[in-house]
């Protein structure tokens, strides 16, 4: 198993003819992802990298059996693209686009509650199930198949952590970048829940950061519902309060957004904390070794 994407994923790329869209379509194809269709309004009937292009998601889905979509369209049109995918019945939508206005996101997320579509992102690096399917921006070769699920609010920090895991020969079941925005389609809890149910996943690495209360909510969920060991790192312990640190969500206001509050909540819930971003890999390896030892005693 694995979560969200696997060998049965038939990926559709919305915004396939743009610069980023075509570059990453190629990388996904090279990784072995089944990219079955592209959508680019007005360019229906053409092909990009051998992938047939359609004017609408509805038509693309009907003709190719696409069951997941990745979105590269510009911020001003991205919410519309997600809605179009949801309307066409696509069950998984990964929205890479950064900078979508809040008031485009609010009605969108409200609408999605009434559908069966799961949104990952926006402002995220996407999802990869190593060896099966890559629907995202991450370099495929830093991953290796295995049992650790990774869920993160960051892009490049996730690559860093994955590279540490792979260097220690700790493989991954699925790596999910949920995005750096304050308003997201999927939260830590949504993804933790999927990892808990996934038979391939034996442990989970959670990478949080300052801002919001998503880590505290995750901690509460872990305490109540997770049987699998969880390892966490929270970025931004040394960030000055009140300043936006790149990610729109990464601003500390009040005390709840602080890294220390999040770390305390996670530690209290039984999560193993990696103190340094350079030690997430080794901390995870140790937790897995402990788990194996316990099994044999």
């Amino acid at each position: 198993m694995s979560i969200l994407v696997d060998e049965n994923t038939r990926l559709l790329v919305q915004g396939i003819s743009g610069r980023e869209g075509s570059f990453h379509t190629q990388r996904c194809l090279e990784y072995g992802t089944k990219v079955v269709a592209g959508v680019s309004p007005g360019k229906g009937g053409s092909k990009v990298l051998g992938v047939p292009v359609f004017n609408t998601v509805e038509r693309a889905t009907r003709e190719t059996g696409a069951n997941a979509s990745i979105i590269f369209v510009p911020a001003a049109f991205a919410a519309d693209a997600v809605l179009e995918a949801a309307d066409a019945g696509i069950s998984l939508v990964v929205c890479i686009t950064e900078g979508i206005p809040t008031f485009d996101m609010i009605p969108l997320l409200y609408y999605l509650r009434h559908t069966n579509t799961r949104l990952i992102g926006p402002n995220c690096p996407g999802v990869i199930s190593p060896g099966k399917c890559k629907a995202g921006l991450m370099a495929g070769d830093i991953h290796m198949p295995g049992g650790v699920g990774v869920v993160s609010r960051s892009g490049t920090l996730t690559y860093e952590v994955v590279a540490q895991l792979t260097a220690l020969e700790v493989g991954q079941s699925t790596c999910v970048g949920i995005g750096g925005d304050p308003l997201l389609g999927s939260t830590f809890i949504d993804i933790l829940n999927l990892f808990e149910q996934d038979t391939q996943t034996s442990a989970v690495v959670l990478i949080g950061e300052i801002g919001g209360t998503m880590e505290q909510e995750a901690a509460e969920f872990i305490q109540k519902n997770m049987s699998k060991p969880t390892i966490a790192f929270v970025a931004g312990s040394t960030a000055p309060p009140g300043r936006r640190m790149g990610h729109a969500g990464a601003i500390i206001s009040g005390s709840s957004g602080k890294a220390q509050q999040k770390i305390t909540a996670l530690a209290t819930a039984g999560v193993t904390i990696a103190e340094s971003p350079a030690k997430v890999g080794i901390t995870t390896k140790k937790v897995l070794e402990e788990k194996t030892k316990r099994l044999f005693i």
Partner: protein, 388 residues
């Protein structure tokens, strides 16, 4: 994006929210004229992008136009230092002169986005005129919240609920509800991230007036509000941050350490700050170079980093994904060609097109210290900053 109080009041007024009569002045003479026109006692309010003005001497009362001119002359051209600003403070270039209002009652009214609920939330409190974050911490029961769902927006019953919770006189419920509806219309219509009236007061004539007004806007939606975007006042920001933004380096935050950092990705950039602290050093800045497709942005980032006299070493940590390592390497090469950079450079590269990137740097002739992984990058940068 933030705007000044006088601008926020002008927008609120357009949306039918009552604000005191007054005008903005850039000189003592202008202030005198406005005060004379208003007559009676006036309030002089420094126009800066920071709260806590009252305690810092940024808000004063003047009994006459003569006195107003004198107070304004003292205020203008100075920097105001409040608990929300840097120790240097922010410049007072303009003041708002408005009629002083005697309040019979003070309330708090605000709208913000609740990330967990994924909805706008309207908050009201009888504890007006105080620091609302402090109220939220010490006596949360004094704040009443209602969530605004996109399908129905703000409804009159919600206004009645909030007015009652604030303990308003029944005669004020209707105007208060109307004011709340207008504030929500503004919040949604102008893509705000925060709309706050603190305090909202009842005058002796039992009318509601917004004495202070704060509006913040969603940066991502400014493209649909060119009228709002042009209100931005770069003088209220850190000079280096404003310079960085004008060069396309948008995610730069000035800090107090001595290691200049150039990183791609916000989460990784934050982690580097943490790592440097854990390694016994400290960062001069947060800088997320973003998705780099041009060498120019890298060059500009180096200009920003090396313009800070505190910087004793530069750490470049790139994990290519959407950004490509070879482009960053070309940018570094270009920066060294254009500038005379004396501080030591520590570089750690990984990810998309890393081999090409490493080759470019190795062949460039630039003196740099190569780090193999994150831990080593942190350690070497701290050592380099200590020696130089």
């Amino acid at each position: 994006m933030k705007i000044h109080e006088y601008q926020a009041k002008a927008i609120m007024s357009q949306y039918g929210i009552p604000v005191p009569q007054g005008g903005v002045a850039g000189t003592a003479a202008e202030a005198k004229e406005i005060a004379a026109q208003l007559g009676g006692e006036v309030a002089i309010k420094a126009q800066v992008y920071a709260g806590g003005r009252g305690k810092a001497g940024g808000i004063k009362l003047a009994p006459s136009a003569q006195e107003a001119a004198k107070l304004v002359a003292e205020m203008l051209g100075k920097n105001l230092v409040t608990h929300q600003t840097s120790p240097q403070g922010v410049p007072i270039d303009r003041v708002l002169v408005e009629q002083a209002i005697e309040a019979e009652g003070e309330f708090y009214l605000g709208i913000a986005i609740d990330g967990s609920a994924q909805l706008p939330v309207m908050m009201a409190s009888s504890a007006g005129g105080m620091d609302i974050e402090e109220v939220a911490q010490k006596s949360p029961e004094k704040i009443t919240k209602i969530y605004l769902e996109p399908a129905i927006g703000f409804q009159p019953f919600q206004g009645r609920k909030l007015a009652e919770a604030m303990g308003m006189d029944p005669s004020l419920v209707r105007p208060a509800t109307e004011l709340m509806a207008n504030l929500y219309r503004l919040f949604w219509g102008k893509d705000c991230s925060l709309a706050e009236i603190n305090p909202l007061v009842i005058t002796k004539q039992t009318e509601l007036v917004a004495i202070d007004a704060k509006l913040n806007f969603d940066d991502n939606a400014l493209f649909r509000h060119p009228d709002i975007a042009q209100l931005h006042d770069p003088r209220q920001e850190d000079a280096m941050e404003a310079q960085a933004a004008s060069w396309g380096v948008k995610n730069y935050v000035k800090l107090n350490g001595n290691i200049g950092c150039l990183v791609n990705g916000a989460g990784l950039a934050m982690s580097i700050l943490d790592l440097l602290t854990l390694s016994g050093g400290s960062s001069a800045n947060f800088l997320d170079i973003g998705t780099v497709n041009t060498t120019e942005r890298v060059v500009n980032a180096f200009k920003i980093l090396t313009a800070d006299p505190k910087v004793k070493a530069v750490l470049v940590n790139i994990f290519g994904g959407m950004a490509r390592v070879d482009v960053i390497a070309q940018g570094i090469e270009e920066a060294y060609r254009q500038m005379d950079i004396r501080v030591p450079l520590v570089v750690r590269l990984a990810g998309t097109n890393v081999e090409q990137g490493r080759r470019i740097l190795a062949e460039s002739g630039i003196k740099f210290i190569a780090a193999q992984d994150l831990a080593e990058a942190g350690r070497l940068a701290v050592e380099a900053a200590k020696i130089s």
